[in-house]
């Protein structure tokens, strides 16, 4: 009864083994889904302290019918690669134990994204294992592919940071921006960003139908963005009524003249060969610019722009699924590269149309 894809995974010689810490959460559930049907990865264990012993389908209903059960983190056996989908602060405290379990660690939290301890002092509450910071590689292949090959410690990017960086990066690479300009990034996000926890503000009656400023200033993802773009951004986040999705609208003011041709050249130059970035900038029909619905459930990022000549402004739109390109998908993508697997393996799902608040 059921397409038990988890049980069908082969175990041939070439297969890489993997386990997940934090598999009862939202991004851990996505990792579970992705790894369970990954052609070259065999999923071995998935931990949850609160649900240990229960079947994974009891938490993630699409997996109902599979025999896999959550285990305790302490019971993890050795595998090739360990994915951690735990809250900020957990991985930095247990990173040595993680490396006891696996030679390759992919961490989805913020714990290894920044390069220097000082950044953690400024933006977070310091760091427990700063010696790992210089060894870790940021998981976003579009800006860090070469360093991911063979990496031992991979730090999954922040979802809002990923959307923002993907939108702005070509403008810096192609000298349309040089870092001295005013950059306003106005982000709209879905409720899965908050994780599986719940709480009054994320209850259905209070959270439905909102356009709610949250983190109006001082959002921690600014640190990542600044690290990779080399400039600070004016960043504001809003919760809106969707479950998956992060959509960044970046308003930038290049100092010199810019044509649509220049913009296409910059974006096509960066992304033409990228398997998980797609352009949308005008055109016809209902979907003309990047939007979360168009990529919900997939690892695809959509990036596009419009020119506002009267204000000498370029508006950049970028949209990702925070659970995929913004976390679990990006992590699997990076792991594929690090382990020498097919880059797009396990990430081929193309998405649905029509789809609701995804």
């Amino acid at each position: 009864m059921g397409v038990n894809s988890l049980d069908d995974v082969g175990t041939d010689a070439e297969t890489v083994t993997a386990s997940i810490i934090g598999g009862s959460g939202f991004t851990g559930g996505e990792l579970l889904r992705l790894l369970a049907s990954h052609p070259s990865i065999e999923l071995v264990e998935v931990t949850s302290r609160s649900k240990a012993g229960k079947s994974v389908g009891s938490v993630h209903p699409p997996l109902r019918g599979t025999d896999l059960r959550f285990t305790e983190p302490a019971d993890l056996e050795s595998v090739d690669v360990l994915f951690a989908a735990t809250p900020h602060g957990v991985s930095m405290g247990q990173i040595d134990e993680f490396f006891d379990v696996a030679d390759t660690v992919v961490d989805l939290s913020a714990d290894f994204r920044l390069e220097r301890e000082a950044q953690y002092d400024e933006w977070y509450d310091g760091h427990d294992a700063p010696e790992y910071l210089e060894k870790s590689e940021y998981a976003l292949p579009e800006i860090n592919r070469e360093n991911l090959e063979g990496a031992d410690l991979i730090a999954g990017g922040g979802c809002n940071a990923t959307a923002t960086i993907l939108g702005l990066y070509p403008l810096f690479e192609h000298d349309i921006l040089d870092g001295d300009e005013q950059i306003v990034v106005d982000v709209k996000v879905g409720s899965s960003e908050g994780g599986a926890g719940g709480g009054e503000a994320s209850s259905h009656p209070e959270r439905s139908g909102v356009v709610r400023p949250y983190a109006p200033t001082g959002h921690r993802h600014e640190a990542e963005i600044e690290q990779f773009l080399g400039t600070s951004v004016s960043f504001t986040c809003h919760a809106v009524d969707m479950i998956r999705g992060a959509s960044a609208t970046s308003h930038v003011f290049p100092s010199g003249p810019v044509s649509k041709g220049d913009l296409w050249q910059a974006y096509r130059g960066e992304y033409e060969d990228e398997p998980f970035v797609r352009m949308a900038a005008g055109g016809s029909g209902v979907y003309r610019y990047p939007e979360p619905k168009a990529i919900a459930g997939t690892n695809m990022a959509e990036v596009g722009f419009e020119l506002d000549p009267s204000n000498k402004r370029v508006v950049v739109f970028s949209a990702i699924d925070n659970m995929m390109k913004g976390s679990a998908g990006q992590a699997v993508h990076a792991a594929n590269i690090a382990l020498g697997l097919e880059e797009t393996a396990g990430l081929e799902f193309t998405g649905l149309h029509p789809v609701g608040a995804p």
Partner: protein
């Protein structure tokens, strides 16, 4: 393999089962308590009366 007392389906159990452990049936979702381990015997676990928010 042990039969679920709720739906009759086979329940896959791991090796180091302990008495008192709660597992759920992957077919029907019922929560089952391990009351013996050799061989494994499962009973319906006491249900938490759910408040449906009436």
């Amino acid at each position: 393999m042990t039969e679920c007392v709720e739906c009759g389906a086979d329940v896959a159990l791991h090796d180091d089962l302990e008495v008192g452990e709660i597992v759920d049936c992957t077919t029907c979702g019922a929560e089952l308590e391990v009351v013996d381990t050799a061989p494994p015997v499962l009973e319906r676990a006491p249900e938490l009366e759910e408040d449906w928010g009436e």
